[in-house]
């Protein structure tokens, strides 16, 4: 295969702007998939991805396209996650490509995430090919979308293909433009091997499958390879490329090609995304640029509802980690919840996805505690502690100073909502940086926000204040000194450790009150009255009461059919299972997450 006939590219788009649909059309048009195998949104092959319309893991597929000039081209389409939580994975996927198709919804225009990812693509010297999608919608304004791309991103877009991925309109034009606009890969097949890992997953039979882009040299089956960052060495067992529905062994991969390696690798931790693969015999001298170890941003406790399922939860987490090196966990105990795990996530979406997969794929009933960021606490004796669990927050008398992580946030929205957004950011202790008009109707706002203000419900709050029009993206900026306190929640007079959290002093009172109110809504009435209190140190700052239950079902018993009676009691028992017994109080699982949704 000639390098001139290879094109490596990805698709950048905001959620729902049609990335996966476009990918499906491209797959159809290149006849890569038999119709019978065609399932909507083929690249998103996890159930959750299909349902949420998002890509969690990067995927890649190799396609053959017979162009109008008569030549057949090899396309490597690398699908990228769009969400900020997976920014690093995005950047590594981009690094495997020479170009990116930027899909913009003709009725919505550019969104914050798209912008962030497009900038990332430009940073990686990718050729960006803008495409305006959804021209079939009555509200579509392709001309405006093109102008916005030119104004905001500053790349020529007036001749951008105008397509409808849904209807299959003008898809061929996109493919032709991939050939003309996106450069072919470069590289020397005889140079020492340098391949970039951009994704990996665990296969039950073959072990870890690594997805790579060969930058220099040639990768051959049977060769011993080495991961530069981890130092791990393996003998390759199988090398090939990703067909649309299965892996196709090819024996070797040359520079410029995208493919996979199977080398009986047991631990996915040895194959970190961003690492460089080289040959042990002819190693390269320098790794590829840009590798970093991704660290969790958000921590949360995950507990089985049924304490006896603790070993099952551990097994499930271990299995999930086989496929997700960014998931970290270690055992922890809570007085309220028993044995569980403190888990680290890249962000809130990542956390939700893991929790959902544990419940769905491993059939577990879980309690997830409110997420916490990592606080940096300097003690009076000079020790520095990093606190990821509010329960471990030290006695305030021993703290010299406390710091919390802050992010630099970008919000894009129609200008009419600027007031609402500013109000929200102000309320979330944000610092205004600047504001830019993208055109007459859209603005870009730049704020610095404490991470703990956005991990809860910021995005939901933003959506509801902008009628769903705002989009949001952020990156870590660093730590800043802050006035923090630990807020405890008491049920029936006893502190529930799993409900404690750390909050800025100025917001402690309001948040404490709101949580008490929220818990009052979530905790069902029980036989006895349940007082709910919020406290800082020993001082009660808010109180609510769940009144005692007055009546349950009181129906006639007909003809001695006591099975109905039994069923009622069974139901009560089932209901109990979904509850956590804290002292004498039964608390539903949702209560532990209720602190998340205070903006309602």
């Amino acid at each position: 295969m000639k390098k001139e006939q290879i094109r490596n590219f990805c698709i950048i788009a905001h959620i729902d702007h049609g990335k996966s649909t476009l990918a499906d059309r491209i797959l159809e048009l290149t006849s890569s998939v038999e119709l019978r195998d065609m399932e909507e949104q083929l690249l998103d092959n996890m159930d959750i991805e299909r349902e949420r319309g998002i890509t969690i893991k990067a995927r890649a597929v190799r396609l053959n396209y017979k162009a109008k000039n008569g030549e057949t081209y090899v396309f490597n389409l690398i699908d990228t996650p769009g969400h900020v939580d997976f920014n690093y994975e995005v950047s590594r996927s981009l690094a495997a490509c020479e170009g990116a198709i930027l899909v913009v919804d003709a009725s919505q225009g550019i969104e914050a995430q798209t912008l962030a990812n497009t900038y990332l693509a430009i940073e990686h010297d990718l050729e960006v090919l803008p495409v305006v999608n959804k021209i079939d919608l009555p509200s579509a304004d392709p001309q405006n979308a093109c102008e916005e791309i030119e104004n905001v991103i500053g790349i020529p877009a007036l001749d951008a293909p105008r397509i409808s991925a849904k209807m299959g309109t003008n898809i061929e034009e996109v493919l032709e433009r991939v050939i003309t606009d996106i450069p072919a890969p470069k590289g020397d097949d005889n140079a020492p091997l340098k391949a970039l890992i951009f994704d990996s997953y665990y296969d039950q039979y073959k072990g870890v499958i690594i997805f790579v882009r060969v930058k220099e040299g040639t990768l051959k089956v049977g060769e011993t390879i080495k991961m530069l960052a981890t130092g791990a060495q393996f003998q390759t067992v199988e090398i090939g490329y990703m067909g649309a529905t299965s892996l196709v062994p090819s024996g070797e991969l040359k520079s410029g090609e995208v493919g996979y390696i199977a080398a009986s690798i047991k631990d996915i931790g040895d194959t970190r995304v961003g690492d460089t693969v080289t040959s042990v015999e002819h190693p390269c001298s320098e790794p590829l640029e840009g590798y970093k170890k991704v660290n969790p941003m958000v921590y949360s406790g995950i507990y089985p509802t049924d304490g006896a399922k603790y070993p099952d939860l551990r097994d499930a987490l271990e299995k999930l980690r086989l496929n997700d090196a960014s998931l970290s966990f270690e055992p922890e105990t809570s007085i309220a919840l028993g044995f569980g795990f403190r888990c680290g996530f890249l962000g809130l979406l990542h956390m939700e996805i893991i929790a959902e997969r544990l419940e769905r794929e491993y059939n577990l009933d879980l309690i997830t505690t409110a997420p916490s960021v990592i606080y940096k606490v300097t003690m009076t004796n000079g020790d520095v502690l990093y606190i990821d669990n509010p329960t471990n927050y030290p006695n305030p008398a021993l703290i010299a100073s406390a710091e919390e992580p802050v992010v630099s946030a970008n919000i894009l929205a129609p200008s009419e909502f600027v007031g609402n957004i500013m109000e929200l950011c102000q309320d979330r202790r944000g610092t205004f940086k600047d504001m830019k008009y993208l055109d007459e109707t859209r603005v870009e706002l730049h704020y610095e926000l404490p991470l703990n203000e956005i991990v809860y419900d910021f995005f939901d709050a933003l959506k509801s204040r902008t009628r769903g029009y705002a989009s949001f993206d952020y990156e870590m900026k660093g730590y800043q000194v802050s006035k923090l306190v630990k807020l405890d929640i008491l049920l029936n007079g006893e502190v529930v450790d799993a409900l404690s959290f750390i909050v800025h002093t100025d917001k402690a009172y309001a948040r404490g009150r709101r949580i008490c109110e929220k818990l009052k809504e979530t905790i069902p009435r029980q036989l006895f009255e349940v007082p709910i209190q919020a406290a800082i140190g020993g001082k009660i700052i808010a109180r609510e009461t769940v009144k005692a239950m007055r009546k349950d079902v009181l129906a006639k018993c007909y003809g001695g059919d006591i099975t109905r009676k039994k069923k009622l009691l069974e139901k009560q028992k089932e209901g109990k299972k979904k509850m956590r017994q804290l002292g004498s109080v039964e608390v539903p699982q949702e209560a532990f997450m209720s602190v998340l949704k205070l903006d309602e």
Binding site: T563, L569, K576
Partner: protein, 378 residues
């Protein structure tokens, strides 16, 4: 002593809140049913079984002719050793009886009759889609008295759409002024897949027209007080009687005594097994009363059932009896009045006798009986 339950699964029209097994029948169906039912009773005949209660429930037994009901009762008497002072009850809908039919029933051997009156307010009766109005109910009770019945029961329902405290008091006053000696009072429960359930799902505003749980609890307590004033004492969660008029048949259910059921979907508890006739009317007739039994429990957990059932009674639970039934000591915490019992007693949800051997639900405890009982069972 055993109880005999006869299920007559017919109604003129099914009430919108009812999810029990009954169908709207025809004369032809009725006669086929009666002969199948008589057969099923005769098939099970065993003179060694002594019975002191017979209960005709439904459905609406009185959609059948009095002569048909009497023939069934005779089949029962021929097949089992029914004591001469047995309590023999028939449930009736006020608009399915006449002075003559009631006399026939009384003369045929029935000595207790239970009317599904529900309310003395016609607007509430039509909200429940009952076929009768209060005037008819009143007449039916008086006719039953004239026919010779001295043991008459009436149902009262709490939680009807648009029912108010005042209208409930009115119903209680009016119904208790009739010659009744027993009241069954219960709270309307919206069962899934009933027309009422669908009605409410279609029109959520109807929910607001049913009093909330706190108010219903208040009304239940109010009713208890009123009934007590009128001499009706609560002997079970939803049953009240003048002394000596407690339903002996119903007590069997709560005292874990045996009963045999006949007719489609009729339940039995016999020889430590619980089972029911698992077929509909048509199949029942086709099989001509040949039993088709499904067991719900072949080895009844007597200790558990005793807790669950006895606590529905005002007399409550006898810890000595529980200790005898509970050989593995699973419920020793109840027997020994351990902490949980103390807490419930402190919260005035249960009463403990001075010697600590009798535990019963309080008035307020009755209202939350499921929660209390399931707490004790765990």
């Amino acid at each position: 002593m055993c109880g005999i339950y006869i299920h007559i699964p017919f109604c003129k029209r099914k009430c919108i809140y009812c999810d029990f097994y009954s169908v709207c029948g025809s004369d032809k169906l009725y006669s086929g049913f009666v002969s199948a039912l008589n057969n099923s009773i005769k098939n099970r005949a065993d003179k060694r079984i002594k019975a002191d209660t017979v209960y005709f429930g439904g459905g609406t037994p009185t959609v059948l002719k009095s002569s048909q009901l009497t023939s069934i009762l005779n089949a029962v008497k021929h097949s089992f050793d029914v004591s001469s002072n047995a309590e023999i009850t028939v449930e009736a809908n006020p608009c399915t009886v006449t002075r003559e039919s009631l006399s026939e029933l009384f003369n045929g051997g029935f000595n207790r009759i239970s009317f599904g009156i529900q309310s003395a307010v016609d607007r509430e009766l039509s909200a429940l889609s009952r076929l009768h109005n209060y005037k008819q109910a009143e007449e039916a009770v008086l006719n039953a008295e004239r026919a010779g019945f001295t043991n008459i029961s009436a149902d009262i329902m709490i939680g009807i759409i648009d029912q108010t405290r005042e209208s409930l008091i009115d119903s209680i006053e009016r119904i208790t002024s009739l010659p009744v000696s027993h009241i069954s009072a219960y709270l309307l429960k919206v069962e899934e897949n009933t027309p009422l359930d669908e009605m409410i799902k279609r029109d959520r505003s109807k929910i607001a027209r049913i009093a909330d749980d706190d108010e219903l609890a208040e009304r239940y307590l109010l009713m208890n007080r009123l009934l007590k004033e009128k001499g009706f004492l609560q002997y079970e969660i939803s049953n009240f009687a003048k002394p000596g008029f407690e339903s002996r048949h119903n007590l069997k259910y709560w005292r874990c005594e045996e009963y045999l059921g006949f007719g489609p979907h009729a339940h039995s508890y016999f020889d430590s097994k619980r089972y029911f006739e698992d077929c509909g009317v048509t199949q029942f007739i086709d099989r001509n009363g040949e039993p088709k039994i499904t067991y719900t429990d072949t080895d009844v957990d007597k200790a558990e059932e005793y807790i669950m059932l006895s606590l529905r009674l005002a007399e409550g639970l006898d810890t000595d009896r529980l200790a005898r039934l509970d050989k593995e000591g699973r419920y020793s915490n109840i027997v020994s009045n351990a902490m949980e019992i103390n807490r419930l007693s402190y919260e005035k949800l249960i009463n403990i006798s001075e010697d600590g051997k009798h535990i019963s639900l309080s008035e307020r405890g009755f209202l939350v009986s499921n929660a209390v009982i399931s707490r004790l069972l765990n």
